[in-house]
């Protein structure tokens, strides 16, 4: 911090603290640098920034008060759920307030007749399903981070998980949101009914990454737990066969509850850590979960087996008990720690592509990996084309670090080229803000900014995240010329 910004920092603190203090107990406001370090980043740990202060309100009135104070003093506000985001979305901004929502952790009402629950945004994803399990109900969105992440964060990121092919993303599983605006106003969006009057503002809030307002209450939809669930694992000798197998299952009219794919390095890393019996010689394995009535699931299971066999599956394991299913899934969900053992750092990408391009993109990623002399591992949601190539590298080596990020950008470009997108579930945050310039034209970005303006005229909510400024894009596009060629010559530039 230079002297100038240090003074600015102190001045801001001196004007903000007394105002906040009018309604917020001192112990809810953190200003000690040592304690602030706990909030300097989310799970994308390569980017860090200390906030001016962290405030941990416990009532909606207190959130409203924080917003009014910050709005009055033009101080930016960044909301934080559990901080498991992977795109620096809840990383603080310099001289801004970090609004931690962790004290909002109550489940207020479980409405069995309407199959909904009214919850605080800080409630952990898994806690919702745990709380309603005795009633044979569950909350469908299941990001791998569900033990830790908050439902507020799920809404802000429109999080998904292995079950979203069949049961949708967060946006499909929430009915109503209470929102505090930057002016401190409390607004209800959606309703306890299946639709509400006016524009569908719950849709626009979902995935808005804390840029449009603070979510302070959520009414989630609950689903009955399926009567029967079967899990199987199939091994393939080539990536092409595995890719075709995915398309064939969907093409046959079967929508599995989960359809995941793991490449050879991934299989080996997972097997070494979890000893789940994964076939380590396979080029790829597919995990397929089917659910429904017992009769229906048996039917589909037989269909899937014959599809996989017809497409040269080398090994098919069918879990015959809940424990065996659990073992297969537990191993898949441990992919992240398993990969962490392979290299000091792991840069997880998150792009979605049309399923038909799976094999092709996978091959091209491997070629790119060779070109950049880095290892890339693929463990991902194949059913909905959501790829998570993990780039292994060592951040203490500047050159590797640089190559890892360039490779990441090339992979995202590849996703756009085949008609996909640069984020399927992790969001944009700060991590992928430059790549937004590749996916969207300047007029589209301007439309995003205009929409943001409707919610937050002074640009105080999570500024600098998710939607790049046109100036930023101009700079990025200028830097981003490969071999003298523009990456997308047919797209409009300025």
């Amino acid at each position: 911090m230079t002297l100038n910004t240090a003074t600015q920092h102190d001045n801001l603190l001196n004007s903000l603290l007394p105002q906040l203090g009018q309604l917020i107990p001192a112990q809810f406001i953190i200003t000690e640098v040592e304690q602030l370090h706990a909030y300097e980043c989310d799970a994308f740990t390569t980017m860090r920034q200390l906030p001016l202060l962290t405030v941990l309100p416990e009532t909606i009135e207190q959130v409203q008060h924080v917003m009014r104070c910050c709005n009055h003093l033009n101080i930016p506000v960044v909301a934080r759920g559990a901080g498991t985001g992977l795109t620096a979305g809840s990383m603080p901004v310099e001289n801004g307030v970090l609004l931690g929502m962790s004290k909002f952790n109550q489940i207020h009402d479980i409405d069995l007749n309407n199959r909904t629950a009214l919850i605080d945004p800080g409630v952990r994803n898994q806690s919702v399903s745990d709380a309603v399990a005795p009633h044979n109900l569950y909350f469908a969105p299941d990001p791998s981070s569900q033990l830790a992440c908050s439902v507020g964060g799920n809404v802000a990121e429109n999080a998904g998980g292995v079950h979203c092919l069949k049961y949708g993303l967060t946006v499909h599983n929430i009915l109503e949101l209470e929102l505090v605006t930057i002016e401190g106003e409390l607004i209800t969006l959606g309703s306890a009914a299946l639709d509400a009057a006016g524009y569908d503002l719950t849709a626009i809030m979902t995935g808005s990454e804390g840029l449009l307002g603070i979510i302070v209450k959520i009414r989630v939809k609950l689903l009955p737990i399926p009567a029967s669930t079967r899990v199987m694992l199939a091994a393939f000798a080539t990536i092409e066969d595995a890719g075709h197998a995915i398309a064939a299952v969907i093409g046959a009219g079967i929508i599995p509850a989960g359809l995941e794919m793991i490449d050879q390095t991934g299989i080996r890393a997972i097997e070494e850590l979890m000893h789940a019996g994964y076939p380590v010689d396979a080029a790829a394995v597919i995990i397929c979960e089917l659910d429904g009535s017992a009769a229906e699931v048996e039917d589909e299971l037989n269909n899937v087996i014959s599809i996989f066999t017809g497409l040269n599956a080398t090994d098919i394991q069918i879990a015959n008990s809940a424990e065996e299913s659990k073992r297969i899934w537990a191993a898949r969900k441990a992919a992240f720690p398993a990969l962490a053992r392979l290299a000091p750092d792991n840069y997880i990408m998150d792009g979605t592509i049309p399923r038909r391009a799976l094999a092709q993109v996978w091959k091209q990623i491997n070629q790119l990996a060779d070109q950049y002399q880095l290892q890339v591992v693929n463990v991902f949601h194949a059913g909905d084309g959501n790829m998570h190539p993990s780039i292994l590298f060592d951040s203490s080596d500047d050159d590797q670090h640089q190559r890892a990020f360039e490779l990441g950008t090339r992979i995202l470009e590849l996703c756009i080229e085949v008609g996909g997108t640069i984020s399927g579930e992790h969001g944009i945050g700060l991590e992928k803000i430059n790549q937004m310039c590749l996916q969207f034209s300047p007029i589209e970005l301007q439309q995003f900014h205009a929409l943001k303006q409707a919610f937050d005229a002074k640009q105080l909510l999570n500024p600098g995240k998710q939607i790049p400024t046109l100036a930023r894009c101009a700079e990025f596009n200028a830097m981003h010329v490969h071999h003298g060629e523009m990456p997308f010559p047919h797209l409009e530039r300025f």
């Binding site: 009955p224 984020s423 579930e425």
Partner: protein, 370 residues
Amino acid sequence: MQAVAEQVFPGALTQDQARDQAQSLANQVEQAFVNQQPLVICGGGSKRFYGRPLEGETLSLSDYQGIVSYEPSELVITARAGTPLQVIETVLAEQGQMLGFEPPHYADNATLGGTIACGLSGPRRPYSGAARDFVLGVTMINGKGEILRFGGQVMKNVAGYDVSRLMSGAQGTLGVLLEISLKVIPMPAHEETRVLSCSQQQMQTLLCDLGRQPLPISATLFHNDQLYIRLSGATAGVHSAAQIIGGERLSTDQFWLQAKEQQHPFFHPAQPCWRLSLPPAAAAVPDALARHQLIEWGGAQRWLYSEADPCQIIQWAEANGGHATAVDRSEPGHTLFHPLSNALLPLTQRIKQSFDPAGILNPGRLYTEL
């Protein structure tokens, strides 16, 4: 299954024709923006009754037709807004697929654009989702005449704000839809409808109970003390569920089509009808407000005829966690939409302004203020 792209049918444009036409539509909007001239966006006209009075020059999308891409194994169809809904449903059915929200047509000339703009969903809505839930991406013209693309053709996409879903139900007040990508679902292998005699109270209790069980229910309708429950899915699953539910088996297959298209005898096309959208287990509408009712969506959508003061109906719906719309199919311009709250209205106006700064797209169709 074979990949199907660029479906050809009478009226479908080639890519070049489509590009020219999209540009010419955008030019018309830009001209209207410059002249501050209101436009009435027009698809097939099948839902012109659904909205408030409109005045302005017609911007017709009805020639902007064509299925741009459809690959059954991707579960995604992309089509131009003027494409007749019928064409889309036929093409999907040939591949054993369907639109999961079972949109009402109301007439043969319904277009895809009008369907998504109105955001109406049919009997399957509570069980597989609303129109907006199936929207993956759109190409649209905003109120300045700019052609913009949001979302895409993939299942999961969280890059930027979810503008495409916002367009569903906005009734053209935020943009002219040019092209829409929708998620589609496999058609169920088997369907069966069970009919039970019961009171409204019994229906509520039964549906609450069934709703907590994993049964393949895909529609319900309650009228004149008869409860109709449709089951869809694999044959074995439907049979076992039918046994749990009991009742009689319904023999006609026209029933749900009639319900969806409001051709059920309950509906009088010449009389204004109220639609109440409520939490499914909300209280029964009091007799003082309506004696005659038809209840769908597991209790969440209730149609009624009423002589009561509209304010009373609106207040009752709101007090019970929902909202009310009065629809008059006999005459365009008579729909009464539930008023927006004092907190919501200014925000909604600012959103409208961000897409349509001159207020030229279907002004007043939803609310006088939009």
